[in-house]
Amino acid sequence: MSLEVLLIPLGIAAVAAIREARSTSLCEKCHATNVADQALLITALDGIGATAVAQSDGRVTCDSTFGSLTFQRIGEVFLGRVDGGTHSQTATMISAVSAAAGRIAQARMVQIVQERASDMGLTLITQKAEDGTVQLVYEVNR
């Protein structure tokens, strides 16, 4: 290898932003998700079976198997809580939402890469999925 680039997909918050959100005490019972984009959050909530989803700019509420949920964007990151729940319940819910968002972002990114590679004339050499990770290898034709 001679060049390595690390990236985050559209809608997922940068690690620094998540750390900053976790360090703030703006919301006593909120925990930070990994989500920066409201549309991605809505899709992730759908992924965990949430119902009665309502949203306004930067704020999302819904019902779920965890209970009633509220999310608010603080800076670049959405924070969320189980309304009236414990820290442990909120942490479990946030893990589920963040995992759903990650899976959605992964699927979207793989689709974007496949479409862009086709447009750019790159040749797919191998594609494999192991332990949930997807790897695509392309040959660059110069």
């Binding site: 680039v5 997909p9 974007i112 040959e139």
Partner: protein, 71 residues
């Protein structure tokens, strides 16, 4: 020259893209290719790997020896 771009997308959405093939300065062209391939993603870090510097070092030594011989 055969060059490969390897894109790895984690279950959390994190992405690693690596170029491989004949190492050296040509790999910098791959950076633009990676950015176009991963449309919409944000770069959080990038680095040249030891393979790049190994080739750069060999080229520098070779040039220096040639300069010395010509002097």
């Amino acid at each position: 020259m055969r060059r490969l771009i390897t894109v790895t997308v984690g279950v959390d959405g994190s992405i690693t893209a690596e170029s491989s093939g004949e190492p050296g300065p040509d790999c910098l062209d791959d950076y633009d290719t990676i950015l176009r391939l991963l449309d919409g993603a944000t770069v959080t870090d990038s680095r040249l790997t030891p393979a790049y510097f190994a080739t750069e070092g060999r080229a520098l030594v070779q040039d220096t020896v040639q300069d010395w011989e010509q002097a």
